[in-house]
Symmetry: C2
Subunit: 423 residues, 2 copies
């Protein structure tokens, strides 16, 4: 995805100057982020020492849709799934309300809860983000199929599109890295801010839910790529060139958002999130010739252009032949299969991960935390992945080791809470 | 550590404008970084597509000392230890030469090796950093005690200061996360650039050395903290306030660099690196009162100031008493013990880490990748850690799970290679 976001940040001093000139209002979008100037301990709300934030560092938490879906990709992700330990639906409701309040505050650059300096109590916020800008922090919540089992009386509300994911050819899924009752995707342009987000949600959940899995991810940052060109995956290839242009609302409606006609009603404006932890066989790939690598992807490595083209964004034309009459882009290449004759699209939002080494083999435990959004996985992700799992040349170099499908709730209005249309 | 680095980056366009004005020379320091302008495939050296880099994105690899020691801390680390699989000292020499060449290129923003477009060969560089600025990439090499065993005929050269680390009270060390023949600390202001660095070293080592452990780490970035204030650890406290000011060369000489008088001669200008993987008991900490947290560190959480003070950088005065005559800063607090009556200093260079969750307990597997440099661990790190291990209030909330001590080689001159004074 060519996000090309504006990476400019303001210093506190810049903001104070602007505030003096009455200009801070100009920096604030329509998001209504609450009290932003909280520079002293005497401010009732806000963590002491938290600097003010410019609107470009804030993605509003409240809205028609959840943020973190069509939001241009931030540089870091810290993502986790929770299993509920309570069987009381009212306790779940309370948890989602507490999470909503915490997310609204953190995305606005505030600490969790009004800060107390009472030495006899644990601080409400864990503290590692004090003084940091929110750096476009977003939280995106989804619920898995297990949320609709017998525990909470919600079985009748399970969407038909929230299927039990079929087993794909080659899957080597680890249960501990898959599924979960509730998933939370936390993204930000700073890894400490993202970690702080999920850590505080886990803390708030104590007694009601526990983390089932947690995975951090990254891509190249603005420090290394000020122009914001298409990120490369750990196989060295650009990844996301052909992502649908969801800045165009009709494209987003077609690909991502559940319309009222799809049902159930509580999912209108939501989306379905697929997560796949895809380990890359990096050492094998690194012994592979450039020709084989490019054949596998169907693109040139350095430019990202389709085979035979020069421009990354050149149209994919599968009818083009080489001098010997063979297709320039191999029909079993990743790009050819994922294209799905242009009829099926998903919104990809993946991050690289690195979990050290596999102690059994000494090989790198690294790959892609693949995330995608689609309005109906039965018509989008599943047929695409079935095709890829069966034929993709890339399968020689990757293995899917974790998986999850989640119904991503609609956005939350001011005064509402995440999941309020369902609960 | 208050690094307060200049975080400005240049776009490629800025640089081309400067180049047009004949101004690129002004951007280059004394580091002699070789060919910087390599914008086309016709350039003999340099990975195609690699953008030019400003000197502030480049820390020179060659010099009297290795970089990455007194270099202001970058935001990311990707650090690993290798075990040698060869027993031929000449093969080790060749490996260190190849690593030197690769590091000199990568730190200058070039790919590993002159890039070939020969489709029948694997690319020399793994590709994920193509087009990225080097973002102050540094490589810092050290050798462990096992490097001096019987394999390479170097037993007689082992420095006395490269001791077998004593077992400290409370240590719960995991062998797989400790020691190793060779350690490499890779730091950069971009996580993909840092990963690319160690991954390519591992690739070059194939047949001669394998990764024994690998750990990534982070701190708050310039995106979240444009002013570059003291980073906070994952317990929410500022970490590094009292680090020695190694910008002052006489302080660096006193604390960090091995002088000729210490011996052995091949270590002159080197340093000793200690690595400790310190897991934090985050869930327990988060249930602890603010008062207990501040008592434990001996500092206020929000300001970072010593207890009873307002300013982070206020002098530590352990003679100050409260109204009841008790010391303001508890004698068993972390800051009081680590102070060592002002007589012992180390240069700390730690990063936070997060490795997902501990699947056995569901708790966060996160903490501090503690790294420090000192000129003699027998006189600096070891006595300090013995005192901390025995008495530090913080021990209730942390556990040391990995450990390594390494002789960090002197810097490399142009034409030399890392370790050439030893090998």
């Amino acid at each position: 995805m060519d996000s090309n976001q504006d990476r400019k940040t303001y210093t506190r001093r810049d903001l104070l100057k602007l505030a003096g000139a009455g200009g801070v209002g100009l920096l604030l979008g329509a998001g209504g982020v609450g009290s932003l100037m909280m520079n002293s301990k005497t401010t009732a709300s806000g963590s002491p020492g938290t600097p003010p934030s410019a609107s470009e560092d804030i993605v509003p938490f409240y809205g028609k849709h959840q943020s973190g879906i069509v939001t241009p990709m931030q540089d870091f992700i810290c993502m986790g799934a929770f299993d509920l330990t309570t069987t009381d639906v009212q306790a779940v409701r309370e948890l989602f309300k507490s999470w909503t309040e915490a997310c609204a505050r953190m995305t606005a650059g505030q600490g969790v809860g009004d800060e107390s300096t009472n030495a006899f109590l644990p601080p409400k916020d864990t503290g590692e983000a004090i003084g940091l800008l929110p750096t476009r922090l977003t939280f995106t919540f989804g619920v898995g199929a297990s949320f609709f089992d017998q525990r909470f009386g919600l079985a009748g509300k399970r969407p038909e599109a929230l299927i039990d994911m079929p087993r794909f050819k080659g899957d080597a899924l680890v249960d501990d890295w898959s599924n979960g009752d509730v998933v939370v995707q936390v993204c930000a342009n700073d890894p400490q801010v993202a970690f702080h987000g999920i850590r505080n949600l886990a803390r708030i959940a104590r007694g009601k839910a526990v983390l089932r899995w947690l995975q951090q991810g990254f891509q190249r940052t603005g420090a290394a790529d000020p122009k914001g060109s298409t990120p490369r995956n750990l196989l060295g290839f650009k990844d996301g060139t052909n992502n649908p242009d969801v800045k165009n609302a009709s494209v987003a409606d077609e690909v991502v958002w559940v319309p009222p006609t799809d049902g159930p009603a509580w999912m209108t404006g939501g989306s379905y999130m697929v997560v796949r932890r895809i380990r890359m066989r990096i050492e094998v790939w690194d012994r592979t010739s450039l020709g084989e690598q490019e054949l596998t992807f169907g693109r040139h490595r350095d430019s990202g252009a389709p085979i035979g083209e020069k421009d990354e964004f050149a149209k994919l034309d599968f009818s083009k032949k080489d001098a010997k009459g063979r297709p320039l882009i191999d029909p079993a290449s990743h790009v050819a299969l994922a294209h799905m004759e242009g009829k099926v699209q998903i919104l990809r939002r993946g991050y690289s991960y690195s979990n050290g080494i596999d102690l059994k083999t000494g090989q790198l435990d690294a790959g892609l935390l693949f995330i995608c959004y689609n309005r109906d996985p039965r018509k989008q992700f599943v047929p695409m992945q079935q095709k890829l799992a069966a034929q993709d040349r890339l399968n020689e170099y990757i293995v899917h080791v974790g998986s999850g499908l989640y119904a991503c709730l609609p956005g939350v209005g001011q005064g509402g809470y995440i999941g309020d249309t369902l609960l």
